[in-house]
């Protein structure tokens, strides 16, 4: 399955860059194992440890009751990693040609403390933006952009998973994450690797 891990955000705007940091960590992890899942290759479930770590760390919304059969669907023959700082149409365009996209981004919400992680689907995102109307000064929402792409018949991923990480500071320029957000990076990295069918250390 051709897969894209997309770290979204500005790496020089404190916590805004958390998605980029996760993407970098996933890239490093994949580089050390040659972009393959050895355990998944011989038929066993390869991500128990990663899921367990993510669960213990309090990631909300992890897939429940995951079967070995379902995990087999997560065997990724090809994984690309990108870090970009765009939304809407450009974000949709970055997803063209992939069968699966894992999006990692900052999330600012009064009820979401810094470092808290939510795993969301596109339907969840739809509920966050229920009117699907763009009030952006520049672009459309991702949901609208994806609908447009589908109307155009573009090859868009049927599976989009979103990791939204609560942030503390997205207004000060800095390359350093705040401590609680930095602590979420290995957690989300493990969760993303789990999505890819990989153990954190395999």
């Amino acid at each position: 399955m051709k897969t894209l891990v997309l770290g979204l955000g500005n790496p020089i705007l404190t916590d805004d860059g958390v998605g980029v940091r996760v993407a970098e960590a996933v890239r490093t992890a994949l580089a050390t194992r040659g972009n393959r899942s050895p355990k998944a290759e011989n038929g066993s479930v390869g991500n128990d440890q990663s899921i367990q770590l993510a669960e213990e760390a309090g990631v909300v919304g992890l897939p429940g009751g995951v079967s070995a059969f379902e995990l087999a669907a997560f065997r990724f023959s090809e994984v690309d990693i990108q870090e970009i700082s765009v939304g809407g149409l450009a974000l949709m365009e970055a997803m063209i040609g992939y069968e699966c996209v894992i999006l990692v981004d900052a999330f600012e919400h009064p009820d979401v403390p810094p470092g808290m992680v939510h795993r969301m689907t596109l339907d969840d995102l739809r509920r966050v933006s229920p009117t699907q109307h763009s009030a952006s000064p520049h672009d459309a929402s991702l949901v609208t952009a994806l609908e447009l792409g589908q109307r155009m018949g573009l090859p868009l991923p049927p599976r989009i998973t979103i990791y939204a990480i609560g942030v503390e500071n997205v207004t000060d320029f800095s390359e350093r994450l705040t401590p609680s957000v930095a602590a979420a990076v290995p957690v989300v990295t493990a969760a993303v690797l789990a999505e890819l069918g990989l153990d954190i250390e395999s």
Partner: protein, 497 residues
């Protein structure tokens, strides 16, 4: 395992907030547009090598990284006192023209156009690019996406990366193009010209062909008479990449024309206690408040003001479109060079943007067929000791200036940026106030339609609130709060994107 539902109220605080204050009679006394400020950029930059700035500043904003990359690269030319080879300037302008085609296309079809294609009173859920596709046809959407994608391909080819370009160097550009690449870009540019002509035709058919929309454009609610700013070439025609900054007054008389490095002599910044952002104004006139007129230092830097400040367009089809716009809107030719009187109908900015789209497409084509464009010698040697440099381009949202100071090793000691939207902060605030005063009267109920009328006042400026553009949910929510004369909150509409 559990799954949580995200409460729809999110990212509202400090993002795109408009506060409206009423007087004792219940009419609008004042309005405030609060744009979140990103803090500490200078502190972040100082101590770094200046040549990193084109790659750092293109991260400031997810909307126009190409504009920051280009202004920064030009600031490095000035800082290191190096003149780029002729082909380098052409390659940069080619890259920049492809960016303009993409950006202006997106704005018109995704943001500005829906108000006219679907109507300002159309339900909010339909007033977007999907609504445009639904009304005008799938083919429109396909053309918009195709246009964006083929020009992103050019941006990547020339800029080294698809989103955050890396090709700019002091006195150079890291990428030359082969004949094969030139040929490919030429075909893309030809398609762009066709698309721009098609877009203008669509505007004529759907907007100018509808008396209600024409009335809307000409209505006093959306008029502001201020100075106009824009970059011009040696013939005083619009240029996005290089030239002098020209400011004309309300009647079209040239007020000043200056080299971008002299911006400090002509532009000052006013501070208000309710916002971190400053309000640039014309120094020679002075700050007289948020008011129109020749005695007010407020100026505008938008597609419309660029056309107002110039004598015309440098390419043939754009010239025709420019003349048609001014003739249709009733402007007279003035002065020895017979340029047009400025247009002050702010909704006409959408039309001006399409004229600029056509110019960018034609300029791109001109550059691709320039015999020099495949010259591989794209870098000049850097030998001087750096001290200070200013770089300036026209970003789609206004004149963009980067100013760097360094020590003798080229390590940054001071940084100043004036970004496109900042130029327009005062006029945007004035436009919001006027629209609010028109539509909110005693006893008004705040509705979605009212919100949109207010949004229509600022949408032509395409204001950039950069950090709101990419974090989830990926849109800028709008929060309108209305306070009575005693400062009590009497009504509030919070709308998700």
């Amino acid at each position: 395992m559990k799954r949580i539902a995200i409460d729809p109220i999110t990212r509202l605080e400090g993002h795109g907030r408009i506060d409206i204050f009423l007087n004792d009679e219940g009419d609008v006394e004042n309005t405030y547009l609060l744009i979140p400020e990103l803090r500490g950029f200078e502190r972040f930059s100082v101590g770094r090598p200046a040549e990193e700035m084109p790659r750092i500043t293109n991260r400031i904003c997810g909307v126009c990284p190409e504009a920051h990359h280009m202004a920064s690269t030009k600031a490095l030319d000035a800082l290191f006192q190096v003149e780029p080879p002729s082909v380098t300037k052409k390659l940069r302008e080619l890259f920049y023209s492809a960016f303009y085609v993409t950006d202006h296309t997106t704005h018109f079809f995704a943001l500005g156009g829906p108000d006219f294609v679907l109507g300002p009173d159309a339900p909010a859920a339909q007033r977007n690019i999907l609504g445009v596709v639904h009304k005008v046809g799938v083919e429109i959407g396909r053309q918009v996406i195709d246009t964006r994608m083929r020009n992103h391909h050019v941006i990547k080819m020339l800029g080294g990366r698809g989103v955050h370009p890396v090709a700019g160097l002091p006195g150079g550009w890291s990428k030359s193009i082969t004949e094969e690449e030139r040929h490919e870009i030429e075909q893309i540019a030809r398609k762009n010209v066709d698309f721009a002509l098609f877009s203008l035709k669509l505007f004529e058919d759907l907007v100018l062909g509808n008396p209600q929309y024409v009335e809307l454009i000409l209505s006093d609610t959306y008029v502001h008479r201020t100075y106009s700013m824009g970059m011009v070439d040696e013939n005083n025609r619009v240029n996005f990449y290089d030239g002098l900054i020209r400011v004309v007054d309300l009647d079209g008389q040239e007020f000043v024309k200056y080299h971008p490095r002299d911006y400090g002599k002509h532009i000052a910044e006013h501070v208000e206690p309710w916002t971190y952002l400053k309000f640039p104004y014309l120094k020679q006139i002075g700050w007289k408040g948020f008011v129109d007129g020749k005695d007010s230092g407020v100026y505008c830097a938008t597609p419309l003001s660029r056309l107002n400040a110039a004598n015309g367009m440098a390419t043939p089809h754009a010239r025709e479109a420019y003349e048609k716009m001014y003739e249709t809107l009733g402007s007279k030719r003035i002065g020895p060079d017979e340029r047009y009187e400025p247009v002050h109908f702010r909704l006409a900015t959408h039309w001006a943007r399409l004229v600029e789209l056509l110019y960018a497409a034609e300029r791109m084509l001109e550059l691709t067929i320039d015999p020099e464009i495949t010259n591989p010698h794209v870098r000049a040697a850097v030998t001087a000791t750096p001290t200070e440099g200013v770089g300036c381009v026209e970003a789609p949202r206004g004149t963009l200036t980067h100013h760097y100071w360094t020590d003798e090793r080229g390590i940054l000691t001071q940084v100043n940026l004036i970004v496109g939207t900042t130029n327009n902060y005062a006029p945007i605030s004035m436009s919001i106030k006027k629209a609010a005063q028109t539509f909110i009267k005693k006893g008004s109920v705040i509705t979605e339609g009212l919100l949109n009328r207010i949004e229509m006042a600022f949408r032509p400026y395409d204001p950039c609130m950069s950090c709101a553009t990419h974090a989830l949910p990926g849109e800028m929510p709008l929060d309108v709060a209305i306070y009575d004369a005693q400062g009590r909150l009497v009504d509030r509409v919070q709308r998700q994107g």
